[in-house]
């Protein structure tokens, strides 16, 4: 069956009433968690993960992925209207988006942001569709030693590109790998660090840890804050941008699509980095760089397009290699595994319905989000009227039920609560949780592949330096160096991060 025929079949899944319904639910919930400060795509996906258990795997993944890219759309709303980023990838949008809103131009900012997000998201899905299948074919031909090299490279890059202290990030990576060893050993079946508890034999629950480390710690941190939210209320008729806005934002949207697509390959914080780079590029190329920071529409269009263009690219390593590059795709990996679907090179041959159904749903989801976000922006902004303390109660109840329902185990609630407390302390002291979660997901496979590669080579470590490993490592490193070089050329760190902090 050709790729086109498989895509048509994917559309038949995505356009079924169930596919459409759950894609809509995912997009709607994603927008809500994107709008609400303190809830990001990861927490949003984790909260609804238990709802997918009774669904067909393809439909469940369609809904969870909808939350992922829906949150990217929603995050811009609060950045523009409240100057509070709904999630990390919308920090840069606060700079010019809020300035535009203060000048009474919130409508065009929201409109351009939504259109840019739609174009960026659609371009990245095209990339996913064309790159993932050939990449998966290459991966089938290579062995566990190359897998080890790739996973180590991903973890190394996560440590390097981290915004915080590198040694702290590396420590979180090691801690994540260590926590991943809890449970039965994959190769021998020996129990490790279970202390006789059958609940721990399957390892620590990823959902419990993810909700604790990300969701619960974020809630505890937000409860400390005392500032007042000031939301600007746009009117629907004000959404139409002027010709000047369209002219200024069109090239920024084009460049943002390319930047987001390329930077989506970087493991760890690609969705955040891509927005900073896009902003720096737009400022560098603008004829009026002095307008940036004072309400330049290109400063909204570029970053918002870029953070949505990342979503499709971030799915490539997950679906073609089985290696998640950001926490949200780590959760998707966990969800697919729960559903008995193993992401990786064999996904396209074993379960093409999942891959192509997902690709088709992403096209549809981007259209749903465009239609959903613009007319309903007033409703989403009104979500901010709900007192945060009331939201906390609702989120905690849903989280606890969700975590318990995965394994019907109280141990998982303990894990969630304890990891929430630990995450709160660690985050206050500058440790990042994303590397820990990614390492936790990769740890099991890294160890299995490592030991399998050594067994196959008769105990020779030279297997990690064979031709295939060196070629893959060299290519990946070359690509990452090129991307890092581009970021350095545009100096995004020193210029844009300063402006984001000032904003």
């Amino acid at each position: 069956m050709t790729g086109f025929e498989q895509l048509v079949r994917g559309f038949s899944v995505a356009l079924s009433w169930k596919g459409l319904l759950y894609c809509f639910i995912g997009c709607l919930w994603g927008t809500v968690v994107g709008v609400l400060p303190g809830l990001g795509p990861l927490a949003g996906m984790t909260l609804l993960l238990p709802l997918t258990f009774g669904l067909d795997p393809t439909i469940g993944i369609i809904m969870l992925t909808g939350i992922f890219y829906g949150a990217m759309y929603g995050g811009s709303t609060t950045s523009i209207l409240v100057r509070i980023p709904g999630e990390a990838a919308s920090v840069v949008t606060c700079i010019d988006g809020y300035e535009m809103a203060r000048q009474g131009r919130a409508g065009p900012a929201l409109m351009i942001s939504a259109v840019g997000s739609f174009i960026g998201g659609t371009v990245s899905v095209l990339g996913l569709m064309f790159i993932a299948p050939p990449l998966a074919k290459v991966m089938i031909a290579i062995g566990p030693s190359v897998e080890v090299v790739l996973m180590l490279l991903a973890l190394f890059v996560i440590s390097i590109v981290s915004a915080g202290s590198r040694i702290k990030t590396a420590t979180m990576v090691v801690l994540g790998l260590l926590l991943g060893t809890i449970g039965l050993d994959n190769l021998t079946g020996a129990p490790r660090f279970t202390f006789g508890s059958p609940e721990l034999s399957g390892g620590l629950s990823f959902a419990a840890l993810a909700i604790g480390l990300f969701g619960l710690s974020e809630i505890l941190l937000n409860l400390e804050k005392t500032e007042t939210i000031k939301a600007i209320q746009p009117k629907l008729r004000d959404l139409i941008p002027r010709w000047n806005d369209v002219r200024d934002s069109a090239p920024a949207i084009g460049r943002g699509s390319v930047i987001g697509f390329i930077f989506g390959i970087i493991p760890g914080v690609s969705h955040v980095v891509s927005t900073f780079v896009s902003y720096a590029v737009e400022k560098r190329l603008s004829k009026h760089p002095e307008q940036f920071g004072k309400g330049a529409i290109a400063g909204v269009a570029g970053p918002e397009t870029a953070n949505n263009a990342v979503t499709g690219t971030a799915m490539i390593p997950l679906l073609a290699l089985g290696i998640p590059s950001i926490p949200a795709t780590a959760l998707l990996l966990s969800a697919l595994t729960i559903h008995g679907v193993q992401p990786g090179p064999l996904l396209l041959t074993d379960r093409p319905d999942v891959f192509w159904g997902l690709v088709a749903s992403m096209y549809i989801g981007n259209i749903i989000l465009l239609l959903l976000n613009l007319p309903l922006v007033g409703i989403f902004v009104n979500l901010l009227r709900i007192p945060y303390q009331w939201l906390v109660v609702a989120i905690l109840v849903i989280s606890i039920i969700g975590v318990y329902s995965v394994n019907s185990s109280v141990i998982d609630i303990w894990i969630m609560v304890v990891s929430g407390g630990v995450g709160y302390l660690l985050r206050k002291l500058g440790y990042e949780m994303a590397p820990l979660l990614l390492a936790l997901v990769l740890g099991d496979r890294l160890e299995s592949s490592f030991r399998l590669a050594l067994t196959m080579s008769g105990g020779s470590y030279a297997t990690f330096l064979d031709t295939a490993s060196v070629v893959v490592l060299g290519s990946a490193l070359g690509l990452l160096l090129l991307i890092q070089g581009l970021a350095w050329v545009f100096g995004y760190r020193k210029s844009v991060t300063d402006e984001a902090e000032r904003a």
Partner: protein
């Protein structure tokens, strides 16, 4: 066009605790510690975690260098965790920059965390819906500053909604306790 005058104020978390002032009348909570001391404490805790894992891993079959057993990988990682924690501690100790204060123990954080700790203790014993209803009522009273009666009514309605959504529509089976 959005009118800047139409800006509306929404108190989001207006019950937060003010930073404590130094002096003899300093309140018990929140406590302020320096990032340096906090960093050292966390590094120490991470190192201790690494040591415990290393000790437990050493009790497993380590295998050979060419054919590692189940204890090899965790032991390697535990040693790395101890080393990295030591580096963080030394880095924090030598840091010459200003030691920034960090606040811990805000009332809302402590109440929420205490309520959460009670949940797994009661969850199977008294039932999921009663436990979560109690937690909701406590948080509404102490965090959202809602009066007791409305808080109980809201919690009861919330739990009925949860029972219908999760129990009836989604088929999630939660412990019902002794009732």
């Amino acid at each position: 066009m959005a009118d800047p005058a139409s800006v509306t104020d929404h108190a989001n978390a207006s019950h937060g605790t003010a930073a404590p002032q130094p002096g003899s009348d300093r309140p018990l909570l929140p406590r302020v510690i320096g990032t340096r001391r906090g960093g050292l404490l966390v590094a120490g805790a991470l190192a201790l975690t690494g040591l415990i894992f290393a000790w437990q891993a050493s009790l497993l079959d380590l295998g050979q260098i060419g054919l590692p057993g189940p204890g090899f990988f965790p032991l390697l990682l535990a040693v790395l965790l101890v080393v990295f924690s030591a580096v963080i501690a030394i880095e924090g100790r030598l840091r010459s920059s200003k030691d920034e204060p960090l606040e811990f123990g805000h009332a809302q954080v402590l109440i929420t965390f205490a309520a959460l700790l009670a949940v797994p203790l009661l969850f199977e014993f008294v039932g999921a819906y009663i436990t979560l209803g109690l937690m909701s009522a406590v948080l509404l009273v102490f965090i959202a500053r809602v009066s007791v009666l409305p808080a109980i009514v809201c919690s009861a309605i919330g739990m009925a909604a949860c029972w219908y959504l999760f129990g009836e529509l989604l088929g999630v089976r939660l412990p019902i306790g002794p009732f």
